[in-house]
Assembly symmetry: C2
Amino acid sequence: MFSKACEYGIKATIYIAVKSMHQERVSLKEIAEEVNSPVAFTAKILQSLAKSGIIDSHKGPTGGFQIEESNIDAIKLYDIVNAIDGEKIFVGCGLGLEQCDASQPCPVHDKFVGIRDNLKIMLQNTSLYELATGLDIGLTHLKR
Amino acid sequence: MFSKACEYGIKATIYIAVKSMHQERVSLKEIAEEVNSPVAFTAKILQSLAKSGIIDSHKGPTGGFQIEESNIDAIKLYDIVNAIDGEKIFVGCGLGLEQCDASQPCPVHDKFVGIRDNLKIMLQNTSLYELATGLDIGLTHLKR
DNA sequence: TTTATTTAGGATAAATTTGTCCGAAATAAG
DNA sequence: CTTATTTCGGACAAATTTATCCTAAATAAA
């Protein structure tokens, strides 16, 4: 469903959010450990999330990643997925046709659009805040 | 969403089904042309679909691919996707966790399972017959 | 039987995704 | 200022997916 990059990016962002809600900044190393993702690859993903403005990064000792607390509720799962995998997941024909829309549909068009709209709506309605809160209170987990 | 292999496989199977409903066998070359897919790669996919028993193949002149007409309604989109991409699309955690279920969920577990179940049900409820019929009567298309 | 045609299948290559390594740049603290 | 720490960013490598090519095997028809 999601790419590995996206999986790591989502996990990392949720972890950073939890820490940010406790006014803590976290290092790449800690994130990769807690989220069970390859360090160097995770670094690349965090870089691009920082460029997208979803997370903040700081160099040097005491440096690391964080998310402005007031943004955590406004950031949606959709934003993270979109920043990493791009909108190509939400656009385009399910069978790869260039020319496919309601007036000239591919055989799976209607059914496919239905599923994908569900996905899109789910991602747009899911806030980083609720994901981070669930993790913080021990309702969910990210390891293994 | 689907792999390229799956896209080509679905398109090819629908095209073969349409022809089979008119008692015609089709060659790899014709399929690849009509479905706008790379010939050699399509050959591989059709090979595996034949091994899975979803389509029949015949060598030699007048050879080609076909689907037993009485099977066309029983074959579901799910069977095609499952034969090519495997069940890994329908199983496993949305964030790639090994240990993730209702009792120890990842942060997106519930929402993700909901979407994926929708997808699975849609694929299981969509018959090759309806897809092929739509194409046959010109309601849908596979080119471009 | 010979020939032409078509799929089967192995080897290989190209493209993309995933992942690593390392020096540069920033920066906090002694 | 120096040093230690941390992210940045480029080059590179491995793995997977996508795609090609060619020979073998089957088989229909002359």
